[in-house]
Every structure is written in C-alpha cells, then in structure tokens.
Amino acid sequence: MSMWSRFTNIFRGEQLNREIDEEIESHISEAAGEGRDTGEARRALGSPLGLREQSRDLRLLPWLDSLRADAVYGWRQLNRHKVTSAAAILSLAIGMGACASAFRLIDALLLRPMPVAHADRLYAVVRQGVDFDGQVRIGDSCYPSFRLMRAAVKDRAELIAVSFTERVELTYKSDPEIEKAYLQYVSGWMFGTFGLHPAIGRLFTELDDQKPGGHPYAVLSYDYWTRRFARDPQIVGRTFRMAGVLYQIVGVVDAPFTGTVPGTVTDIFVPTMMHPGVVHDDWIWHRTMAQLKAGVAVEPVRAILHAISRGFEEERAKGFKNMSRESIEKLLDQTVVLQPAAAGSSALQEDYRPALLALAVLVALVLWIACANVANLMTAQAAARAREMALRVSIGAGRRRLVQLVLVEGVLIALLAAVMGAAFTWWSAPFVVSRINPPDNPARLALPADWRVFSFGLALTLAVTLLFGLAPALRASAINPAMALKGGADPHARRRSMHFLIALQAAFCFLVLFFAGLFVSTFERLSHQPLGFSAPRLLNVETAAQRAQPPVFWDQAADRLRALPGVQSVAIAGWPLLLGEAWNGFVSVNGAPPGPVLAYFLSVSPGWVDTMKIPWVAGRDFRPDDTTPGAAIVNEEFVRQFLKGVQPLGTSFAKGETRFQVAAVVRDAPYRDIRELHLPVVYVPMHSVDEKGAMRPIQNATFIVRTAAPNPMALASILRREIPRAQPDFRASNIRSQQEIDEAHTVRERLLAMLALFFGMVALLLAGVGLYGVLDYSVLQRRREIGIRMALGARAAHIARRVTAGIFSMVLLGAAAGLVLGMACARYIQTLLYQVKPTGWGMLALPALTILGAALLAAAPAVIHAVRIDPVKALRAD
C-alpha cells in the first residue's frame, strides 16, 4: 500500500475498523462451520481490540493518526469554551497580524534587497559632517565632484549618480493637459551595472550620458507603462515635453525594478546629463551609489573617495569670498562614509526608520501580552482538565502523548489566529502606507506577499505556539495521577506562574501606554503650537509659466484673481511657507565679514505679510516699486541674530553682492519646518533687477489666496480655470490649502500617535481580559476555602482583600518594572518626540493610573463572585 493510501486511510478510520472486525467475524464463523466452539475460537484469536490496533497501525501512519485524533479532540475543546477560545484567538490574531504588518513595512522599506544584480555590494556614498547648528548632518556631493570620484575608483567600484525623485510636470505631444510624473535622473550606465533588461525598446548606456543637455531620451518604468499606457507596445518613439525640452521614449525597464528610492515608485528615468545641475559645483541634487567589484574591501575605496572629495571641496572653497575662515573650516570638515544600501536609499527610510522600529517594539509587546493571556487561559483550562489528564496517565498514555495533546490544541489556536492575522495584515499594511504621506502625494511602497512574508508568518506562528503552549503542555504532562484524582494537587505552582505572567503583562502594558502617551502628546504639541500666521482660509496656487515671464505679468494675473468673488486678498510668493523649500546664505551687516549663521530668504509681493496675517512689529510693507536688491522685511529672529543693539529699520546688510535695507520687522513664522519656529528670515521683493538694471523674468511662483469662505478648496477649480485666462502662458500646477501643507509636517507624528494609541488600547484590553480570567480562575479554585472562611464569619471586605491582594501586588510590581524599563528606553525614541519630556510626572502617572483603573474594573466581577459565594453550596459541591 502506498504512502498516499496510508495517508488517506487516516480519514476513513471507522471504515478500517469495520473491515478488520468483519474479517475476524468471518474467521469465527468458519471456525464454527468446522464444529469448533465460538468462544474458544475467539479466545484463540486474542483481544479483538488488540488485533484491531495492530492491523490499523499497519495500514495508516500512526503518528499522523494520533495527531488527527488530537486535533479533533482539541477542536471539540475549543468549541466547548466558545467565548474564551474566541477571545484567545482574536487577541492572538491582532497581536500576530500587527507583528506581521510591522514586518512587512520594515522589510519593504529597510531590509528587502532591491531587484538588481549584486545588491549586497551596493553602498550609498555620503558626506558626514557637523552642521552650523551643531547637529550631525549627512550630505551628498555635487556632480563635478562625483565625476572625479568615479574616475578615481574606476577599477574597484562603479559609481552611479541617482537624483532625488522629483514630481515633474510634462505634456505628451498629443495631449495638451499638463500631467505629473515621478522622474529620476540616473547615470546612463546604471541599468547595465544593475543587470536590468528592457521589457521593450532599449535602456540607457554610458553613451547616453556624456554631453550636458545632449541626450533628451527617457526610459519608463514598467509600473508607469502599465498604469499610464496600458502596456502599449507603440510607446517606443513617443515624445513628451518637460521644462521646454522634447524627450523621446526609448524603452521600458522590466518589472520589478521601480527605482532606487523605497517609498516612491519612479515613473520616468532620464540621463543625468539632462539635469541643469551637472555643470554646477554648488548644486546638490543627486545621491551617489557605489557598487563594489567582487572581492573589493570597503575601506580603501572609502579612503580614496574621501581624499578626492576633500581635495575638490578645498579647491572650491578658494572661490568663497563672503565667508569667515571658521565657516569654511566647518564646511570642509566632512568625512565620506559608505553606507550599505542593498535596500536602496531614500529620505523615507531615514524619516521612518526610528518610527517603524518603535512601532515594531510596540507590536511585539502587544503580542507578548496576547501570548501571556493565552498561556494563562490554557493553564486555567489545564487545571480544570487535571482529572482527565490523570485518567489518561492511569490508563497508560505516555508523557509525550500528553504534551502532544495540549500542544496540538495550542497549534489549532495559533493557526486560527494566524489566518485571521493574515487577513488583518493584508488590510493593515497598505493602510498604513497610504497614511504615510499627504493624500495628493502618497508614498508608494511595493508590499509583495512573497516567501519572505510567508516564512516570517510561519516562524511567528511557531514561536507563538511554543511561547504560550509549551509551559501548559509540559505542566499538564507532569501530572501525578494519584494526587490529581484525589483532588489535592498543589495548585500554588500553577498560580505562581499565572501571577508572574500577570506582572509581565502589567509591565508591557505600562510600556505600551507610556510610549503611546509620549507619541500622542508630541502630536498634540506639534499640531496645536502657534504658527505666527493664520493658516485657515489660505489657498496656495503654485503656478508655472511655459517660459519665464516679466514680473508685471504676474502682478496682472494676481489683480485678475483678486477680482474673483469669494477672494479676500491675493499675494505672490516664491513658494508657500512650510513647503520645505529653502534658499539661504550668509549675511554681512554694515560691511562686516559674515558670521557663521545662515539666514533664509523668500521673495514676496506687496501685501503678502497682511495676506498671511503675520503681525507687524515696525516699519512698512513693500511698495510696488520696491525691488531686489533694495528693501527687505526681516523677522524678529533675524534682528536677534544679526542686528543686536542696532536700530533695525534702515540698517543695511548684504547677501553676497546683493544689498538690502531693512524696511520692516515682523513676528517670527516657521519657514520650512514646523519644528523650527525661530529661523532668521529675510523677505525680499518679487521684483528682482539684474546687474544691467533689467527685470528678471519669473518662471515659477505661488499665488497666495485668502478666501472669504471657510473651506478654501471650494475655490480651487475656479482658480485653476482662471489662471490661463489671466495669462495664456500660465498653468496652475498644484493647488493646496495652507492647512494641508502644515499637516504634512505632522503626518509621521499623527500616524505614530494613532497607531500607538490603538495598540495601547489593545494592550489595555488584553491585559484586562487576562487579569479577569486569572482572578476568576483563582476564585473558582479557592471556592472551598472562601466558603469555609465565610462560614467562620469573615466579612466581605476581608474576602475581597484576600482574593485580590496577591494579584494587585503583581500588577503594581509589573507597572513599576514597566516604569523603570520605560525610562531606560525613552532616550532611544527621543528623536521622535517634540517638546515632550519622557521623565515628566504626567507622562508616567497617566499610564500607571490607567492600568490601575483597568485592573480595578477587571477585578470587580471576580470579587463580586467571591463575596456572593454561598458557603453551604460551596462546601457541599465537592
């Protein structure tokens, strides 16, 4: 008989039994036919059950058969206690699902190697130094320096330049509408070095990346080709126009390569030579990646790169005029570092690495709490089944068989929880990714459900089973039948382990709540801090002209928008505040040499300060004839940094060769980041005059519109239509409310606060359920003792104290341990916090009180149960 039939026989065990019995009966009847006594014939055959078992074991796989039997039995056990089983499975499912989701996110963003050749030999080349504000900063190199570095390590490594992914506007020839796409400038040799193949057409080579501006070609990503063109095979040869240049599509790179920036899926690749920055030694616009050749050590390559970079910067610094020696030294004091980049390299990774790790710790804690719950539940059930176990041992069940019996039940729980957890993960991981960035610019992270995720899930299920199932299983098997059947087995060992788990749960619960409190109050602080301007009712219309236009055209367009109904005021600025863009420089006051502090600049039109509702401190607004160089409006921080002890109004200062005179002082408003409330900022007129006295034309600017209605977005479509009418060459490229821009700065904090709060609640609920279960069990077990005490006249308060004292001291002990742990761990999440002190009393008291409250609530039913015990019934029942 084959393995297969032995396998299938397991599931027709009853029929097997019948056949064996029937054969034996036929034997007996033959014997009777020969005149033998049937009784004697039966005796000669021996025990029919023994025969049955011997033959059965031959015809199927005994170990699998016993597993099947245990599974059926375990399933019945789960069914018998439907509510507790459901609670155990559900809590485990949430814990496991959350863990798997965290793994999927961390894996996709930080761990998973990119689908390129030799990802393990890929490094990001960065320059590490200390910034002017004393913080460690990581920076990149300019393109001319990159070229030198590439040539210097040519025989040991291939250097690749990859630009930050840009969201650009472009038009396809046949299509007059502007559309947006994610574009990356990449070295022509990147595709070859990465071993990538075209799905259609061809990819770039070294020859496509040689002359600045000379290679207007594009390669599409497979994802974009599918989404935008439905895999049109005619795509090769089509053209699009971007920033006035006509590009020709030469091919599509095969899936699954989506660029080198996890968190963004690149749509279009163009050669680095098409970037205007390739000829500038002061533009930083690309990352440098290095793929080491086989067998090459990292350090020598790093040393060469460092020497080249340092030499380049020193040469460049000779051209700096308006900088103090000190600033130049600081600028040069940078070290080239090679960071492993098998998983690619992106800002999203740097932003979210600590957040995701914190989240992973939180979900792991929740999973522990859930496991402790299930372990306690199974221990309590095992206690209730002590007699059954004792009976099994008495009739000859081996220790292994009993462990198997209990473990199989645990596996059933874990498997059911794993299935539900998988469903939870399937939904929750993409949900979290969709919440990472603002809705108009979502993070796109490939979240494949492949063998990596599957094996993590499997390992998790196994680990979880052992975590909660092994101890109860071993304890159940170590039973002493004589003691158990008499009803007097030592219940204290079991209670001790349950109490230990309660303390553990309380400690972990405290930690989760503590972190949740920190994240929530960080988000509160950030989202409620005064900004210095009024964000509601502000709409930012980012506008692009096909070709740069004289400033007066922009003023005319602003006038036209001002006339629209529902518009209160309109101003123009280079870009909206808090967009993240920055323009900075060193400032020299009254001809003195510049200091080491950077000032930040923004060009604005007359009326901008009033439209933003930034309060005036002194001076006057720009007039229509004010130009750059000329008048400037500065903020209070600028006065504090540069104009100490000077009457600010009328003081002149210079940024390089450009001179300004302070016309007004305004209150501080955050410039690029909501966390930087006080940066020295200079607002300069939009109208800029070049050396020859001619007005500089403007290609991009933002109309700042304050609306009468509370929802500014209601005007968006009208404004979008009106702008080309005002100036045929203008297009609104992006319309966003100021509040949306502000909220983008707190997306990570909101996500963390939301998830931490959710897990905090889950942890509290689980710990509460666990506590309730243990108390209930201990009351049930001590029913006789309580009955005797009551019969002897103990008061209810006394009983309540006796029942809860042990457990409450465990909760307190656990919470105290959690407190110590939390304070020890707090410094690891410092970077995720804002103006929140982890060691503050409020931050520590809140979780402690919450846990205590939850413990009281969870204890109430058991206490009520205990004091209501009827001594007569309790003593008679056993």
Partner: protein, 109 residues
C-alpha cells in the same frame, strides 16, 4: 507485543507458499491449509495470522479482495502479487540456507 508464534519467523514463508499453490484463500482457509499440509504438525497462532496478513498486504506481497459468500457473509480473499512471488523465492532460498546450515551443525556436533 504480539506473542512469538510457534513457527518462529516462518509464518510468512508458509502463507506465501500456500497462496502460490492455491490463490484466493481467506484467513481461516490459510490457517487450515498450514495445519493440513504439515500433517497437523504446524499450527499457526490465530492471533498472529491476521496482523501478518495485513503486514504482507502493506508490503505489497499479497493483495486482498472482498467477496460475498452464499451465506451472505463477506469474506476477504488473499492472493499473491508479482512482488510476493519474488519474495517467496527469496524466503525459500533463505530457508534452505538456514536449514542446511542447522543440519550441518547437527551432523558435525
């Protein structure tokens, strides 16, 4: 543990040999055949017969088939397979080797 039968390891050989002469026998008939052909000397232990039959069936040496007898009762008939014939030859030669060796010992000792 099954009790060691009196035929000590030769039960398989006898069953295979009998089935090679008379195909399609049920368990009781095989037992009777062993007894009759050995001149009432060899008695197969009834308790070991069926486990042995099932084991040989499992090993693929014999196969079984249910038939309904005139009395209405079903009986399970066994017959030799190709693998069983090979096994029989192997068992027979092994038996010859063992018995001749035992005989040599008896003669010389």
């Amino acid at each position: 543990m099954p009790k060691p039968d009196s035929l000590q390891g030769s039960l398989d050989l006898l069953v295979l040999k009998i089935l090679s002469r008379q195909p399609r026998l049920h368990g009781y008939a095989i037992m009777s055949a062993i007894r009759d052909m050995s001149g009432d000397v060899l008695h197969a232990e009834e308790g070991s017969l069926y486990p042995a039959l099932h084991r040989m069936e499992e090993g693929g040496w014999i196969r079984a088939q249910w038939i309904t007898k005139d009395t209405g009762r079903r009986a399970r008939l066994y017959e030799l397979t190709a693998a069983g014939k090979k096994q029989l030859a192997a068992e027979e030669s092994r038996w010859q080797t063992v018995t001749s060796a035992v005989n040599r010992v008896l003669r010389t000792a």
